[in-house]
């Protein structure tokens, strides 16, 4: 925030001349990088397929409509499996995420030097691998089916839930904890009275948010054989049964919309 004296008037500018110059150069550099990237991508694209895209898309659209409505009788079970994978996976993940979060939060960890890094490692490693890849691994280990899907969703969600939860724990009002400590409460009582009530809204929000995400993730798990509606989707795609594919997509859409509605309602009720 430079103030220039010009005569006896004091002039204020947001940035000094040097700062504005640097910023202008930064923008120029960004534009140049964008242009270069555009050229490289363009050179490696087969433009014939791209120009052809609207025609092909139109073709698939005509094949896929109208959806094969009578196929819906075979989708009840798979969509129920999908919901179960998401719900059970979320529940298992939450049970495991709570202790991990308490071990990872700076103000509750028993040892910032040894235990906290382990907890953070668990969070990072489970978060960084997609649930589809977890499912592939787990199918190889425990065989295909719904159970592999549940475990894949659970593992993938631990890191996400634990990370958000430990951030909530670190942001609590410390004086409330002090007040409970000052009454002579034990360590566990301090946790139950001083910390838990403060993070409960965050916990509920995280739980429904993750459940909502997991419904979407579990719809594709069947693609690799881990149960749910994705199994039907991949089977239909393989035999080019487009009217079935469109019906499955509609069912998934409806399920996701309902889950969004539920999670919005639940969040509204708590916060």
């Amino acid at each position: 925030m430079p103030v220039l004296a010009r005569g006896d008037a004091q002039i204020w500018r947001r940035r000094t001349a040097r700062e504005s110059l640097t910023r202008a150069f930064g923008w120029l550099l960004g534009l140049a990088v964008f242009a270069v990237c555009w050229l490289m991508i363009s050179a490696k694209t087969t433009w014939f397929f791209v120009f052809d895209a609207p025609r092909i898309a139109g073709d698939i659209w005509t094949r896929a409509t109208p959806p094969r409505w009578e196929y819906i009788t075979q989708l009840g079970r798979p969509i129920w499996d999908t919901l179960n994978i998401a719900t059970l996976g979320t529940l298992i993940a939450l049970c495991l995420a709570v202790p991990v979060a308490f071990l990872a939060a700076r103000n509750t960890t028993p040892s910032a030097l040894f235990i906290r890094p382990v907890a953070l490692l668990i969070i990072v490693s489970t978060r960084s691998i997609n649930s589809l890849i977890w499912a592939l691994l787990l199918i190889a280990i425990i065989g295909p089916g719904v159970f592999a899907g549940v475990i894949a969703i659970a593992i993938r969600s631990i890191g996400f839930c634990a990370k958000l939860l430990y951030e909530a724990i670190e942001e609590i009002d410390q004086t409330q904890v002090e007040a409970i400590t000052a009454t002579g409460a034990s360590r566990w009582q301090v946790m139950a009275y001083g910390i838990v009530p403060q993070i409960l809204p965050a916990f509920a929000g995280i739980a429904v948010f993750r459940w909502d995400i997991n419904i979407r993730e579990s719809t594709v798990l069947g693609l690799v054989g881990a149960g749910g509606i994705g199994l039907q989707l991949s089977a239909s795609l393989n035999v080019l049964a487009w009217p079935q594919v469109s019906l499955i997509l509609i069912v998934i859409l409806v399920a996701v919309v309902i889950s969004e509605w539920v999670s919005a309602k639940v969040r509204g009720a708590i916060i």
């Binding site: 007040a179 000052a182 009454t183 002579g184 009582q189």
Partner: protein
């Protein structure tokens, strides 16, 4: 009853918050601790119940040195000392009743407290205290629905249900309006008298301290520079505690107010 011997606190940064404090608080005495911000008032109170670990020196509560206690014994000792906070420090999402009963946490086991199954005598006492501070009708409200003065009253109940021998009070009126401040100070001093409690009250407002307590201790840069009657706080003394300022207005105001109160009564 409470004796501080050469109590010293040096923070990791090297700041000496308390420099060998010696203080004696007899049974049933209410004293006000005044001093500028950063003089070590809060640190001193927190060193007594070891929310802050003192660096050296001794804190003797009825001849037991608190500084050497292990965690179990420290919890038992903390039950003897009720604490009241500046920003009330109620657990906002719990009800008034739960907040009051949390003062009994040192006496009940984990599962009883977790399931909110407090012994009936504790519940009776909680109702009695809420009635005493005029909040009986609020027992089922959540703490964050209350006004500042009401919250501080709940804080007082939480401290008293511990059945303490000593109250540690940290800036009880700093976030309250002048009228509520006086009501809260009056309530605290009355309750101390009723129960024969000793209390150390940290307070910014010199006039308020002079109105309600029989003994004032002035702290500056972690050292006691005044210890005596509230009437002994002359402009010179206040300058010694707080630094140069025109003190006549503060002191005169108190005298006028006291006359007003006497006239009103």
């Amino acid at each position: 009853m409470l004796r501080l011997q050469k109590l010293t606190k040096t923070y990791k940064t090297g700041d000496q918050a308390l420099k060998a404090i010696d203080l004696d608080v007899p049974k049933g005495q209410v004293l006000a601790l005044i001093g500028p911000s950063g003089a070590g008032k809060s640190t001193m109170i927190r060193c007594i119940n070891r929310l802050v670990e003192p660096t050296s020196g001794a804190v003797l509560l009825e001849d037991v040195d608190l500084t050497g206690l292990g965690s179990g014994a420290l919890r038992k000792a903390r039950r003897e000392m009720g604490m009241i906070f500046q920003e009330y420090a109620l657990v906002e999402r719990l009800t008034v009743m739960e907040n009051v009963l949390s003062g009994r946490l040192g006496y009940v086991g984990f599962w009883r407290s977790f399931l909110r199954r407090y012994p009936q005598p504790d519940v009776d006492e909680a109702f009695r205290l809420l009635d005493r501070v005029g909040l009986l009708h609020m027992a089922d409200k959540r703490a964050d629905e209350l006004s500042g003065g009401q919250r501080q009253r709940v804080g007082i109940c939480r401290a008293l249900i511990q059945n303490p021998k000593l109250l540690l009070v940290d800036e009880p009126t700093a976030s309250l309006d002048p009228k509520t401040s006086r009501q809260i100070m009056r309530l605290i001093t009355e309750l101390c008298q009723e129960r024969g409690l000793a209390a150390i009250i940290n307070i910014h407002d010199v006039a308020l301290a002079q109105m309600f307590v029989p003994r004032v201790v002035g702290l500056r840069f972690g050292e006691i520079v005044y210890d005596g009657l509230p009437t002994g706080l002359t402009p010179d003394k206040l300058t010694e505690i707080y630094g140069e300022e025109d003190w006549e207005a503060t002191i005169e105001k108190v005298e006028e107010e006291q006359e007003e109160i006497e006239a009103a009564e």
